[in-house]
């Protein structure tokens, strides 16, 4: 039996949640849904026995959770062996066939894609006899294809209690759902049309280094235009953005009539000031994104979702903004704020993303496929997301 009654957790003065009640039946499939900052990871760590045994915290209430293992969000931080075979051990190697992962056994962990790493984490956890397996936003960093593969592997798991923690319900169909906070109804903005008046950026180049290449990157960006850039994990979306920003070597032509702003995929790479306000060029962006309350806080101490919102707010006015996965780590309310911000912005933007809804606010979509960049219709984009 796994469950909690009136569970409250706080780290010093910082209350994470109060009075959480969970009732989990053995061998059931459950989803725990909650927005950014609702305490999903903390709850998972309590059930896994990390809090308070390993990470000290004030825990009040009742917890029943013997034998729960946990797969965390970042697949790379959970490997301790050199090869997949060593990571899995004897029992795991036997299980690999069942999960169509036999071809990965001889590989080095460095050579695996993020999705493959997460799959190996799943098999490694299943090779032990724990009665319960929890996964904390396991597909957050995966592209749609890798995410679907992981979900397909996850659906094969039997004879064990499964708990999936997530911000939204995209991947938890058929599971019994528990909400840590009531989901807010979101009204998504209608797409604004953009009329091309002047070209602010024109690119015609190729990228090539260490066996990695993206060729025929050729497009122009109009003032105010929003361009979506899609592709699988490792296809080169970030490299293309960096090349456009002038920090990745490219061979060809690149002409920008305006300065470039860049919001990276990992927001914690950006911040070094004492307050969030000091990181912003235009404080108005924070108001537009609804994060005014964060302005006086230290960016390093914010949650990943809050950091992501702040990183979007750091883009400077009157520049071409390059946003790398601007909606990763965000719940539906924060995503809606970002859609709204992008839709209402007068700036030209290039958005590398795995978020299908974000593409609805783009004037054009570029796809990186077969080591080349081509413009695609929303039908092709839909097919990519349903792959």
């Amino acid at each position: 039996m796994i469950g909690t009654k009136d569970l409250a957790v706080s780290f010093g003065r910082n209350k994470i949640f109060q009075s959480i009640g969970l009732d989990i039946e053995p061998n059931g499939k459950y989803a725990v849904i909650g927005p950014n900052g609702s305490g999903k990871t903390t709850l998972a760590l309590v059930l896994a026995g990390v809090i308070p045994e390993f990470t000290p915290a004030d825990v009040k209430g009742e917890v029943q959770s013997a034998g729960c293992s946990l797969i965390m969000q970042n697949p790379s931080s959970q490997f301790f062996a050199m090869s997949v075979k060593e990571e899995l051990g004897e029992k795991g190697v036997k299980l690999a066939k069942q999960f169509s992962a036999s071809h990965l056994l001889e590989r080095n962990v460095f050579e695996l894609s993020e999705g493959e790493k997460q799959k190996i984490n799943l098999i490694a956890n299943l090779s032990f006899k724990n009665s319960c397996l929890m996964v904390d936003e396991p597909v957050e960093l995966l592209d749609p294809v890798e995410a679907k593969r992981f979900c397909s592997a996850f659906s094969k798991v039997k004879d064990r209690t499964l708990i999936w923690f997530d911000k939204n319900e995209d991947f938890v169909a058929g599971m019994k759902k528990t909400y840590l906070a009531k989901p807010k109804k979101q009204t998504l903005p209608a797409k604004k049309n953009n009329v091309c008046k002047e070209t602010v950026l024109s690119a015609d180049f190729s990228l090539e280094r260490n066996g990695f290449s993206v060729k025929e990157i050729s497009f122009e960006v109009c003032a105010g235009e929003k361009i979506g850039l899609i592709g699988l994990n490792g296809s080169g979306k970030t490299c293309v953005l960096k090349a456009l920003a002038g920090i990745e070597k490219q061979s060809g032509k690149l002409q920008a009539n305006k300065n470039i702003s860049y919001a990276p995929q990992n927001p914690s790479h950006l911040f070094f000031q004492e307050t969030a306000e000091a990181e912003l060029v235009d404080v108005g962006n924070a108001r537009k994104l609804g994060i005014e309350l964060l302005l006086q806080k230290n960016p390093a101490l914010l949650s990943k979702g809050q950091q992501k919102m702040l990183s979007v707010a750091t883009i400077a006015p009157n520049t071409v903004a390059l946003l790398d996965e601007p909606t990763t780590w965000l719940d539906s309310a924060n995503k809606a704020s970002v859609y709204n911000f992008i839709n209402n912005s007068e700036q030209a933007m290039i958005l590398a993303t795995h978020d299908r809804k974000l593409l609805d606010y783009c004037d054009r979509i570029l796809i990186i496929k077969d080591k080349g960049v081509t413009e695609c219709s929303s039908t092709v984009a839909n097919r990519f997301f349903q792959a």
């Binding site: 860049y262 911040f271 070094f272």
Partner: protein
């Protein structure tokens, strides 16, 4: 730096032999006092390093020269009145240091860190010893990647080496937080793994 899955000419040689070779060079470098023999040892080691496919000699020397200059200056300062043949002593010491660095560079360049850890595991060396080594080298490339990423992001923001304090701050602080976050994740993952193993027997 240690190799990660890439092959050099001596990658196939067993790690035990490489460790033995490294130890022998260290013993030889410290025990030989004859200048000519030290010079020959130095030349042989650099030739071996070249044959192995190593080409970063400039970086190696650039890192060594300030250290050698400092050491030589201190010899002149502190040993001038002792009656030691300073020229001979300094040359032997310099060749000695160069040989030690060449041997270490050869060892790290031709050794896959994973093979080294595997050897330690096979030799029943406790996990307490090899795991920190593995984790250190497993995450070094990731930290290096973070460093490159952070410095390029700050360059886009217009922060350059012309503002040295701001530049260092803008790179060091995000890197520190990223490393702390990674080590925290890693510690939790390791705790969970051990707990999982204990609970399921």
């Amino acid at each position: 730096m240690f190799q990660y899955s890439s092959k050099s000419l001596f990658s196939g040689v067993r790690e035990e032999f490489k460790i033995l070779f490294l130890l022998l060079v260290f013993v030889a470098a410290f025990s030989i006092t004859n200048l000519a023999v030290q010079a020959v040892l130095f030349v042989l080691l650099f030739a071996l390093l070249f044959v192995a496919g190593y080409r970063d000699f400039l970086k190696l020397f650039a890192g060594l020269i300030p250290f050698l200059l400092l050491a030589n200056a201190s010899f002149v300062l502190f040993l001038a009145d002792t009656g030691i043949d300073l020229v001979h002593f300094t040359l032997v010491a310099n060749f000695r240091v160069l040989s030690l660095f060449a041997a270490t560079a050869f060892f790290t360049f031709s050794t896959d860190i994973f093979a080294l850890v595997r050897m330690m595991k096979k030799a029943h060396i406790p996990e307490l010893v090899y795991l920190p080594i593995y984790i250190l080298f497993r995450f070094l490339p990731e930290i290096e990647k973070d460093l490159v990423e952070i410095s390029s992001i700050q360059r886009i923001k217009g922060i350059t080496k012309r503002q040295p304090i701001l530049y260092i701050e803008s790179i060091f602080l995000p890197l520190l937080f990223t490393v702390l976050q990674k080590s925290d994740d890693l510690a939790i993952a390791y705790y969970l793994r051990k707990k999982r193993e204990t609970e399921s027997g």
